[in-house]
Symmetry: D2
Subunit: 476 residues, 4 copies
């Protein structure tokens, strides 16, 4: 136990009651449109045996002592954080993009810290409940998503100020079985592929926001949950199949008065710790980004370098400079993740929290660089990714020869390989999937403005002001 | 004559012999997938009566004295250039993007200059032929495209150095009827909707590149022409139709040994003037960009401002700063176009050429700013454009109420309008069409690196070096 | 009359009563430390005969019909604005930097518009007074400065809210002779070299700010005026004299209860028009920047190109790209000025006001680019500007030969010329004068944030929002 | 021994034979102009007792087992590298800028690696000699500089191609005593304050560059050495003394046929290892930058935050965003240094080499950010740093009261403190010293273009290309 097979996962997910809405219908997890995203999670199971990931993709549970998936582990050391970062980078490289399975465990890591601290302060009993849940989660090798972002209504107003109080998910009733919650979590990535939906608050909560200060986990097909789903996937291929076939799905997860039993409630009404949970999930998740975003840069860099070679411009100075800039972007982000891991702090729960400043500057740099990275690839690739004819034309007899003739660039590379590269790049930068990935890469884990706020709020600016006072001879 | 109706255009285009290859088939111009792009050209005809465009969308032909479409006019003054720029901006605003009809006339303007100069230097007779052609073109209110970019093979080699000499379009035979050409022009935007394909060289030609130094125009369905086409269009709507329904198409235009009669040949073998033609089409076309790109910025700006309002963050300082930056981007580009118009030069043919420096710095600024502009919109819009559920979910009875509830942001704006805006933005930034537009906006009329080269090659850098020598007291 | 000689100017300025405070002393305008800045103004007189400036540096007064200095002219047409812009660029190129004489006339242009509009609205008599003053100013070929920026105290408070009401210059008494004003104008460039100090308000005035809403002009040595002056000039040379010898001076101009006679008062208490005057001076002055800043870029560009040549890296691709970027920066700014001139509007007074959007986007682009331009020069020049030994070492016998040996870079350029260039660049980028020029180039005429505010406040953002509503199918 | 007092250092340096050329004279190390820079080195001695630096500023020599200055240590572990980075940051914070004492030890660290590897490959005896030297260096707590940058002549030519072979320092004779060298090392920071001048090659050496492939150390007053020096220091204060009083000096160090005894020669003729030494010194020194540059950012950040507070704009959103961006810049650089330390590699000599990629991306980011950081400070400070009157005016009786009145901004902060801050900032951004620091911060340890080259040459780009081939289905 602790590690299960992809088959078990597929079978288990398939048993969930249909509550996915797509295109006007309710569908099961076996709907073809969901397959590219399902395959991505399947890949995280199948990679357990991959020798490149040996020592990285598994960990030893501090609760059960069993070997578990790294993406189901509660970090017990700096080394755990370093390994999660490296594992994430490698998995994303091999999958050709985001692997989606970090959200759940990032949420659980945050909740270990918060529930323990809450218990220590208020004498509540959230932490033991959570540990039981995590044992169950690890033993069964489950997949979780993190439902954080509420739909939020008017962004200039706090939860309790909204004209509709449900625009942030809230507790509408507490009874002896549990709590009943109502609301809608947007951008809930991976929810259709998750066993469990883990809910955490989305923002700073003030004293008036008691009912909105709630965290819990429930099975993804619990009564009252409606997942309104949008999928994104690379374009289907007729002739030129590739490993870059994984997709993803986001869920507008509606909680239409859902009962959450008490043993699954990990926070309820503690506004201060709700705020902390929001911030802390963001921290763990932004640390995940210091692993996955460098992998995205690796792919952009590889594509840029390869297309430069095929185009015959690999030695152009401006191209080489752009490669250096891409490397610098990816490795600065990765460096920040390493520094955050090495300079982690230990919570009362024993969980290691990555350094918040390094984590945020890393995620911030990733977020503000991504569009420019894609621009770089587009720049070096030229116009062809946008104007490349459809696949068929390269294969129908009356055109094949002409198409193969005119796609040729670098001698010694076959027409098909040149075709494959440009089609691959076209799918990266001229597709719905590519556009979704860009927006996700910008906003996931918090938009750049949120990281800016986190950075300045957590930083010791006064230390620097006092330093300048000292240097200027200003007594204080 | 001079101005025809949209119906005449549709009827005329429909008569062209099918030579469009899409999805493995040869199709006619009436194929449904081609309609969004066709409608865009139709719009340029229908806008002739638009009162907002009065005095702008038509011009008086200097050849026939008739009223013609502005986008079929040879510029006779700075004022013509200013009007073309303004007309382009307004047309693009109303169409929600590029209007595609500039390429043909940009090519014809360039060819007036080049053919006249060639005749003056070499005693050839290209210019009278061209004038006859332009009269025909204007009288019949035709649509042209400009086939410039060759597929180019290895970019580090010149045409005559390629392992396959056909990787740049070339003359393979001259006979008493005309010339026979072979090659393939890529990124040939609007070609499926054009009456005429106007061919110009794509780069600097050296003495060895005689056979590649050719310019001409032929009907789009001439024997031997095969258009391999990729279309791009906004996603189709089931419920929420909008005016932003126009698409575009690019054509890999294969010249499979095509006979061009002499009266349609406007340059053939004059390498110096072929280079000049390449540069000059780029100049006219980059000047067009100083009209259309500000319109794109207008749309991005409007969307950013509106979504900020809907999200309740219109007064956030960082949002307001971003609006200012968008305005600055668009208006700097437009300014450069105005300056280029005002400081135009007159060629021997009487054609006004926009100032090459101002034109290029404007187009350059547009090109290097576009990804960042879209990033700004994505930043302010938040994650919803990427995760917005499908249209159906907002209309099926079991979800409509919930979806309308949870899409709400700003009070006083209907759920449908909020939905409309986010779907519109999603189509702009998370779609194939959006990705294609980005690449087009980056590379169209020449990639930023090409403008950089044009800028420094045309600029009087020595004047500045001498200025600094003077200021430093360096004689010589 | 209308044009006077440099000698007359020097003699006239020399007659002013000493009220300059520098280094703890009160000094006359003939103090040696003031000479580099005085020479700069002298240059603007001497350039009248320069053939390169023929037709640009003079204009015909619309009041007297006499030929006057362009920098003393009230703009009567777009062509006047274009000529002022061009004249400014050329003067600054030749002077090696800012020529300082624009502020006064920018203020007078603004005041013609505002005083006329005020009279038209309130029946006051400011405009005729102002015209009399301008006639006097033009006839005597005077120099003016514009005292706009108040010291401003706490920037988060308006004038009337400051704990000390004098932190914005204000009227403390009105009597039958005139008004008595108190306050201090900071950053008053060129004041020590000016015949007249022209005072305009510095910001938006509200109804409570009546006493701070004042504009006037007075002789620079009027009783009660104390100029606390800081000079900046290139380092003095012992051996290698150069034309780049001009300096500048800024004045903390204290109005220690100064009587301004009524005939010199051009606005007094009209808060709305005071706000307008502040904005309008900024507009005229920012338009001046579209002339001078391209000249600064010309110098940076020339120095970068020349040092690249001397260093042997002129053909390096990254260097050439940087030249293109410098050109783009300078010419975008210049383009914006051309567009602003061409699209000017005419005030009731007949004065042509440059288009406010184009003016501001031009000045904004200049402001946010300058540090990067200097960085580019520093980048290409290498470390030598910072570490270049003192002049003497190149001339004392025991070292001369060695120094000349080791300064050598490009063959064929003399050691002295290489020395001259690096010393010139060192003075540009590693000196007090250079630092002052950078801050001036950033903030002069208003900091980037002020231009951002002006841009978005003046722009028709609603037009763009409505455009997007239309495109999305949102009725309003 | 191992740690000596500042007095001993001063006394020892004072004994050096005068060979400093400044202003046409030969001067001793006691020349007043040299004092600000001397005081900076003195500070590194005096800080040994500083409790904030306890455990950081000293280390245990791996050669002698004695306690030595951290800046004289050969790094034996990742922890040593982390401590050097942190120590450097703290020292620079307290000194208000660069502390100059890193260059010598960075060179010695590089030479341990290179000389050992050379010995291992060629059977030479450089490493034992070097160890003897380092023991002597550590025991006597000496100060070294690193003479790396040759004057380099024409940058497009290699050493042996220069028209004057001395433009790179070279061996002109080998005899039984040692080698005789000739040449000139530019930008030799800290040389006037150093006991020892440590010479390393400056670039890649090819087979033809044998005579230029040399490394050694000699006392700074060795016969034949002429130091042509330029000092930079904050402006002197008459009234408002501050701790920010340290300066620096760069030396054009001429080797006018200098004999270096064999026991001080650490490399001579091994071109491959000379190249390695050049690269390796750069690596160690760029790692130092990941400590000092964040300190510079700390100071810029503190000054920006403090001046925002004094100006009353601390709560302006654009100001707060700028603080976040400054933090991100400094901490990304610092993160990269941490990552480089943690991921160090061990050389055959036992020396820990910081990871070359992280080191270079950190230094690169620092270099390309610095001008913008200073721009940010200038932006928030406003124009006053450029126009602030001289100190005297704030103290002479007739002006003091007025000056104190008009410098006031934030209530509750004394006029003197406001004055102090703006004078401090003026000295940072509007002074020769500030300009020199900018150029130094850009080019020190290698210009951005050099780091770009290092980054791409050392990075496994093929791994990323193969990754993309895999993802696109391209075999091979």
């Amino acid at each position: 136990m602790g590690i299960t097979s992809a088959e078990e996962y597929i079978e288990r997910i398939g048993r969930l009651k249909p509550n996915i809405y797509m295109g006007g219908e309710v569908v099961g997890r076996d709907h073809p449109a969901l397959k590219p995203g399902l395959d991505l999670i399947v890949d995280t199971y199948e990679r357990v045996g991959d020798k490149d990931l040996k020592g990285l993709i598994t960990a030893t549970s501090h609760l059960t002592g069993e070997e578990i998936h790294r993406l189901n582990h509660i970090h017990q050391s700096s080394d755990d954080l370093l390994k999660k970062q490296e594992c994430t980078r490698l998995l994303c490289q091999k999958a050709g993009g985001c692997v989606q399975r970090c959200m759940g465990i990032d949420a659980l890591n945050a909740l270990t810290v918060v529930s323990k601290d809450t218990d220590d302060n208020y004498g509540t009993e959230y932490y033991p409940r959570l540990l039981e849940f995590i044992k169950y989660f690890q033993k069964n090798d489950l997949v979780g998503c993190c439902a954080q972002s509420d739909v939020k209504g008017d962004r200039s107003k706090r939860p309790f100020e909204q004209s509709d109080p449900d625009l942030y998910l809230r507790v509408i009733e507490r009874n002896n079985k549990g709590i009943i919650v109502r609301g809608c979590k947007a951008h809930n990535s991976n929810a259709p592929y998750s066993d469990e939906i883990i809910v955490v608050p989305t923002r700073l909560m003030t004293e008036e926001d008691v009912d909105w200060s709630v965290a819990f986990s429930i099975p993804a097909d619990t009564k009252g949950i409606k997942q309104v789903v949008r999928v994104a996937a690379p374009r289907e291929r007729k002739y030129l199949e590739t490993p870059q076939r994984f997709g993803l799905a986001d869920s507008y997860t509606i909680f239409d008065d859902v009962l959450v039993p008490w043993e699954r409630v990990f926070l309820c009404g503690e506004t201060f710790f709700a705020s902390f949970a929001a911030m802390l999930f963001a921290t763990f998740h932004r640390h995940s980004y210091t692993g996955c975003k460098p992998a995205i840069t690796d792919i952009i860099l590889g594509a840029t370098a390869l297309v430069a070679e095929y185009n015959g411009v690999a030695e152009a100075s401006h191209v080489k400079d752009k490669l250096s800039e891409l490397i610098a972007t990816g490795e600065l982000v990765y460096s920040a993740g390493i520094a955050a891991s090495v300079k982690s702090t230990v919570a009362a729960s024993g969980t290691h929290i990555p350094n918040i400043i390094y984590t945020n500057v890393g995620r911030y740099h990733a977020g503000v660089s991504l569009y420019h990275e894609i621009e770089t690839l587009a720049d070096v690739a030229g116009g062809l990714p946008a104007t490349l004819p459809m696949e068929d034309e390269f294969f129908v007899p009356e055109l094949k020869e002409l198409m193969d003739k005119y796609i040729m660039r670098k001698d010694g590379v076959s027409a098909e390989d040149q075709h494959r590269l440009f089609r691959g790049i076209s799918d990266m930068i001229c597709s719905s999937y590519g556009g979704v990935a860009l927006v996700g890469g910008l906003h996931g884990g918090g938009s750049p403005i949120m990281e800016k706020i986190a950075i300045r709020n957590q930083y010791d600016i006064d230390y620097r002001k006092n330093l300048v006072k000292y240097l200027c001879g200003i007594k204080k």
